[in-house]
Structure formats: C-alpha cells, structure tokens
C-alpha cells in the first residue's frame, strides 16, 4: 500500500505546476525558472556553501558543448534533472549528480539563419510535463520533459525577415511568454503568449505601433514600419498585480536616428502587461530616440521595500544606458534615476526620468566618442537581489565606443544598422561587480575586474555572490563585504549567468564558462 502510494506520488512530484513556480523559494533545491523566481532575483536560499567554506569549492562535473557559439544558458533543475539549451537551438537533459545525458533534442536549422549576434540560446522554461525552447529560426517548441520528444512546434515569426528567438521563455499560469530578437533587421517587435498545453497564440503585444495608432506619431513618417523594439531578454511577473514586466530593445535602425525622428515608442522601454489579456497597463521609456543601440533588455528586479518612508512595490532596473532606475511597479511612476557607470551622453534625468541629452553625442560619419559603449554599462546578463543583505548586485562595464552614422536603406532579411561602432583606440576598459543599496543607488561595495564582464551574478543565503570575468574566471565574493573568497579559471570568456541547486542533499553551483558547463560542489 505504501509502495503503491509512493509510486503514484512520484510522477505527480515531477509535474511543475504554476503553484510551484509561484513558490519557487519554498523548494530551494530546484531552479524552476530563468531567474530562479518570478521577481528576477537570481537568489538561491541554499546555504550549505557559505562564505566560511566556499574556498573548498571544486568541479563535480563538466559538460562540454559541441558548439563553438557562445554558451549562454541558465540551467533549470527539477527533481534531479537539469535542462539546458545549447547553441544554436538544442536542448539537453542531464542527471544533476553525474552530468550524464538523459535525452537530447537536436534541431535542424536552415543554412542561412539570420540572427545578429550569434546563434545563441539563453535557456528553457518548464511547466507541467513540458519543456519549452525558442529557436533561432523563430519557432517555439514544446518537448516532453521525460523524453525530449516534440509535443508541438509553432512558428512565431519568419526568420527570412530577421526574426529569431534567443530568449529563455517564461512559463506563467497557463501561458508561455516568449520574446523576439531581430532589432538589427528592422522587424516589428512584439511579445507573445501561447497556451502552454496546445501552443495556440493567446495574445500578441506589438512593441511598435500600426498606422493610425497614437504611438505612430512618435515615429517620423512611416519609420515605425521598421521600428524593431525586440524583446529578447526574459522579464519578471508579479502575481499581486498580475502584470508581466518586460524590457524592449533598440529602435531600428540602430545608429541613424535621422530617418525616425521622435521618441520611437515602445523602444527602450519597460512595458507592464496584463498577463491574461496582454493589454498594456503602463510603460516607461528609458532612452527616448535612442541612437546608440542601448536596448532596455535587462532583467527587471521586483522588490517590496520602504522608499522615502513609504512601503512600496518597486521595480529596479540597471540600464544599458548607464543609469540606474527605480520605478513604482504598480503605476510605472519614476522614483529614482542616477548614473552607475561612466556616461557622457546625458546631463542627468529630469523629474519625470527623461534624460537631458548633451549636445554632440549623436553618431557621425567621422565617428563620435561616447560612454557607455554599445555593449552598455550592463546588458542581458542578470543582476541579483539578496533578501538577506538587501543589496542589488550588478556586473558593470566601464567602457566607451566610437559611434558611426551611416545609410539606412531597408532590405528585408538584411541588417538594418544605419552605422556602426568600434572601440576607442587605447582606452583602458575595465569592469566591476558592484553592490548597490536598491532604494538610493548608493554603492555599498565594489569588486574591480581587469576587463568589462559579459556575465551575470547570483547571490545566495550563504552570504555569497557568484560571478565571472570576461577572462574566464568564475569567482565567489562575500555578499556583505565584496571580498574575494574563491576563483576558478574555466578557460574561455564567460557569457552567461550562474545558478544553484541541490541534489541528494548536496548544494551545487553551475555556470557555463567558455563552451563548457561547470558544476561545482564542496570538496568531499
């Protein structure tokens, strides 16, 4: 009788329900969604590995990818199985203790895939007994979580016109939310929700208006038709407001703003959408009329905290444009904004949060030097918020670029850049992992890196912050002081985010370093 009960309950356990996703913190051994929870915290409540013992961290196993494309995945872990995506659009299930492959999904792609910045993928989503992956040829695919068999495969958009998917989907309630990439191809951006069981489109929110809509007035002439505003980084969700929070990308063309005078809504925005209907509740535009390719595609961090004496529901956003923003996430009201890295393009922000631009900072044919660089002060890789230290951790880049203005003739399926960029000859670029006090933006500590990072951070209840350098090292810092406690050279530029899980009672920390996934544990 007991045995029968156990056997019955096992498959039930493996089902990932919305309830489990909502309460992700209650099962710290698993990592159920891209950022660890819906609030974008990338925080692990596990505390077997601590500031006291992290010096003994050592590889438990390594998984080598066959692809030499950038390996950007955040693994998900559910009940002893790890799900990773691999470039270009593959999915692999691994045993969390041995690193051995359980199943693989290998996608056949057309020869001429159009994607601006590498055939990459940042991870999968899981709900019920399905695993979801977006593909660089712009499909959304649902796989059986036990076998990897394809349950359904829907076309999100046409890759021939430069639409592709690199973002990890977000599974919420009964929906799979998936963004689109293609901001360098003059696409019309959108955010989609699909029925998790059937793959039927539930709603689509266009991030660029259609003719006659009021936002079309923020684009000169018919320039909205190539408006871009892609949605290629996973957002956050608040069950209390039932709102999805998602960042949008650069307006198209990237560096030639002359052909699209106006604010260019909803490019470079944070949009708040009703989960059930996809209707816009509010938006906030960080960089109106962007001419530097500063996508607002960072991970929004949701916290409840006292702000100037009032308890408030906040949204924290360290933007690629080098300003740190705090918004009220119920209303979208701008509360705070200040630079957190070197910037030379704005005098500051006005009371509404709109940047006051400095003259002479637009791209030119001869080239214009501006900080931050195209890659920005921060980018798609994740920040982390620790409810223990109450710090927001951000891997920050300190570098500038020479921005060029160029032609902007649209040809379907070709890049629509309107210029270009290069690094500043002789500039000493650098980077830092910084701990901020979220409600003031004050720096609590800073840990300097020799070169600007391309990877995110994880904080844990063990008073640790994990991160990495562009030079190949993974590192662990004391979350309270920023002191270096552990490091490991993984042998290749790190372009991903760390996560943590537990298996058989043991805590592991995982991150892709170069083209391999490394999984660490305490030396037995």
């Amino acid at each position: 009788m007991r045995l029968a009960l156990l056997l019955l309950s096992l498959p039930l356990l493996a089902q990932v329900t919305h309830q489990r996703l909502l309460n992700a913190e209650k099962e710290p051994g698993n990592w159920l969604t891209y950022s660890g929870n819906f609030s974008g915290h990338r925080f692990s409540p596990l505390k077997q590995i601590t500031d006291q013992n992290v010096a003994k961290l050592t590889p438990a196993w390594v998984y080598q990818s066959n692809s030499l494309q950038k390996f950007e995945t955040t693994p998900l872990v559910v009940d002893g199985v790890m799900y990773i995506s691999e470039a270009p659009s593959h999915v692999t299930a691994l045993d969390t203790r041995t690193g051995r492959v359980i199943w693989r999904y290998r996608r056949t792609l057309p020869d001429d895939v159009r994607v601006c910045c590498g055939q990459v993928n940042r991870g999968v989503a899981i709900l019920g007994d399905l695993v979801y992956v977006g593909t660089v040829d712009a499909h959304l695919v649902a796989l059986d979580s036990k076998t990897g068999a394809v349950r359904w495969d829907v076309t999100v958009a046409d890759n021939k016109t430069g639409h592709s998917i690199t973002v990890a989907p977000l599974a919420v309630k009964d929906k799979i939310i998936i963004g689109i990439a293609g901001g360098e191809y003059g696409i019309r951006g959108f955010l989609d929700a699909y029925d998790a069981k059937t793959g039927k489109l539930a709603w689509r929110f266009w991030t660029v208006p259609a003719a006659g809509e009021p936002e079309a007035k923020t684009w000169a002439g018919e320039s909205y038709k190539r408006g871009s505003a892609a949605t290629w980084v996973t957002g956050a969700y608040d069950p209390d407001t039932n709102l999805l929070y998602w960042g949008t990308g650069n307006p198209g063309p990237d560096w030639n703003g002359e052909v699209r005078a106006g604010d260019n809504l909803y490019s470079d925005c944070l949009i708040a959408l009703d989960l059930d209907t996809g209707k816009l509740k509010w938006h906030f535009q960080f960089t109106p009329h962007d001419v530097h390719d500063w996508d607002a595609t960072e991970v929004p961090v949701l916290i409840n905290a006292e702000f100037r004496g009032q308890p408030r529901k906040l949204l924290l956003f360290p933007n690629r444009n080098a300003f740190y923003y705090v918004l009220d996430r119920v209303t979208g009201q701008f509360l705070l904004g200040k630079p957190y890295a070197k910037q030379t393009w704005a005098k500051g922000l006005d009371d509404s949060g709109r940047p006051i631009r400095l003259p002479g900072t637009f791209p030119t044919v001869e080239g214009t030097r501006v900080w931050p660089s195209v890659a920005g002060a921060n980018n798609w890789y994740s920040p982390s918020y620790s409810p223990d230290t109450k710090h927001l951790y951000v891997a920050t880049r300190e570098s500038g670029a020479v921005y060029y203005f160029g032609n902007a003739e649209y040809k379907a399926g070709e890049q629509f850049n309107g210029g270009g960029f290069r690094s500043i000859p002789g500039e000493e670029e650098w980077g830092a992992i910084r701990a901020f006090k979220p409600t003031t933006g004050e720096v609590a500590w800073e840990y300097k890196l020799f070169t600007p990072p391309y990877s995110g951070v994880l904080s844990t209840a063990g008073n640790l912050v994990f991160g990495a350098t562009a030079e190949g090292q993974m590192i662990a810092l004391n979350a309270t002081t920023g002191k270096l406690l552990w490091r490991f050279q993984g042998g290749g530029t790190v372009r991903s985010n760390p996560m943590s899980y537990q298996s058989d009672g043991k805590q592991y920390v995982a991150m892709t370093l170069g083209n391999s996934l490394y999984v660490f544990h305490l030396q037995p």
Partner: protein, 252 residues
C-alpha cells in the same frame, strides 16, 4: 586581442549575394567612400592609404583584394586573427568605401627609393635589428617577428617607426616592472594579463608568469624599449632599410 571584443557582439552574417563588379563607382560614390574611409579606416591606413599601421592600400593591385568581391569581403568581414576589423556598413557604403580604396591605388604613392639589398645589410649589421626581432629562422624574441611586415604595414609607417618608435606604441604594448613578495624584481614585455595574473617576456626572451597576489609592486608603462634610430642611420641607410622591410612579404 582586447580591442576585437566589441565586434564579437555582432556576428557578421555570411554574404547573401555579392556582385562581381562594384556597382557604386561614380564620382559621388567615391566622394562618399572617402568620408567613410576617413572616419573608419584612416586611423590605421593613413589618410592617403600608405602611411598607416595598416597595410599599404595605395597600390595598383591589392595582394589580398585584387578583385572587387574580395575587397568588399575584407572590408565587411575583416581579416580574421589580425588587427584588420570587420565593419557594419551596409552594402552600398561598403562598395563606396571599396571604390575609394581602389582610387587610392590609381594615384602613384611616394615611391620607395631605397635599395632593398643594401637595406638587408643595415638590418643585420649596423641596425642590429636581429637582436630583438626575428626574421624567418633567425633573430631575437624581444620585439615582434618582422616576417611579412611589408604586407601588414605601409612604408611611411615603417620609416616613422624606425626613426622614432615612441611616437606610435601599440595600444596593448606594455613594459612591465614588478617586485615579488620574495623580493625578486623583473622587467619585461607584457604578453597577457587578467584580474589575477600577468604573463610577460623577460629580456632574455623567456616567458614568465606571476600571480598578482604574489606581487608587491607592479608598474606598467606604455612606452617602447625599441631604440630610436634618428641620427644613428644615414638617410640612405634608412631608405634602404625601409625598402627592405616594405618588400618583406613573408612566406606566401
């Protein structure tokens, strides 16, 4: 190389269709190509294409870009694993730049007057360049190998470099002096560096590596240890040497 990093963000898509002949060669195209060239290329190749730390472009036939298509491809995608970067210009701009580059080769550039054979002698004997530089199978290890230098750099740049090397030190070149906790001091040329360690070549030519945690003092100077030959070589010797280096195209 550090400065290549931004280009890794954008992957340059493989060409869809490149015509054989440059379709944008009017005077207006060349004029626009010149503007693009001045902004993006002149810093390395020089305003007239012959004086830069980039290859000499002011030649009637470019060794690696004799055909329009290959010139287009080099400007678009760069030359992998060299300092020559790719570019995000659109097709028309690439062709206009190519048209201007092509026009550079139609104007005779300052002729190389020296005698290459005599220059080889200067290189080996009076200049003592082999103390620091390798050429083919002989020479030292302190400076970069000069094999194929004539394919990478223009004659005017080579001349300027020999006369006054300090005027144009490469961005990533560092002379390093360090003292270890054990009290050892060392000077050398930086080979690589990261947040935690530094690798250098000492003046005997041997590679050395240190943890930064073991170093008490680390000074890096962005200045060269190549001696200036201003006044040490006659004009004739200098011109001969430049002719020798400009003709050094390496194993083809």
């Amino acid at each position: 190389m550090f400065w290549l990093a931004p280009f890794l963000l954008f992957q340059l898509q493989q060409p869809l269709d490149i015509p054989d002949k440059n379709p944008h060669t009017t005077a207006a195209d060349i004029e626009q190509g010149k503007r693009l060239y001045m902004g993006r290329c002149a810093g390395c190749h020089g305003p007239s294409g012959d004086g830069g730390k980039g290859a000499n472009l002011a030649v009637p036939t470019l060794p690696r870009a004799a055909a329009d298509r290959s010139l287009y491809r080099i400007i678009r995608y760069g030359i992998p694993d060299t300092e020559m970067p790719g570019s995000l210009m659109d097709a028309k701009e690439l062709w206009q730049t190519a048209a201007f580059v092509h026009s550079l080769g139609q104007v005779p550039s300052a002729p190389i007057t020296g005698n290459a054979q005599a220059g080889a002698q200067v290189f080996k004997s009076k200049g003592a360049c082999l103390n620091c530089h390798a050429l083919g199978n002989e020479g030292g290890r302190i400076g970069p190998s000069l094999s194929g230098i004539g394919a990478r750099r223009g004659a005017a740049h080579l001349k300027a470099k020999i006369v006054n090397p300090a005027a144009d030190v490469p961005d990533q070149f560092r002379l390093v002096q360090l003292t270890t906790k054990a009290g050892k001091t060392m000077r050398g040329i930086r080979l690589n560096e990261d947040t935690y360690s530094i690798q250098l070549r000492d003046f005997s030519g041997n590679p050395q590596s240190f943890w930064k945690a073991d170093i008490t003092q680390l000074t890096e100077e962005k200045k060269t240890n190549m001696p200036a030959y201003q006044g040490k070589l006659t004009d004739t010797e200098l011109n001969d040497l430049v002719a020798f280096l400009a003709n050094e195209k390496g194993a083809q």
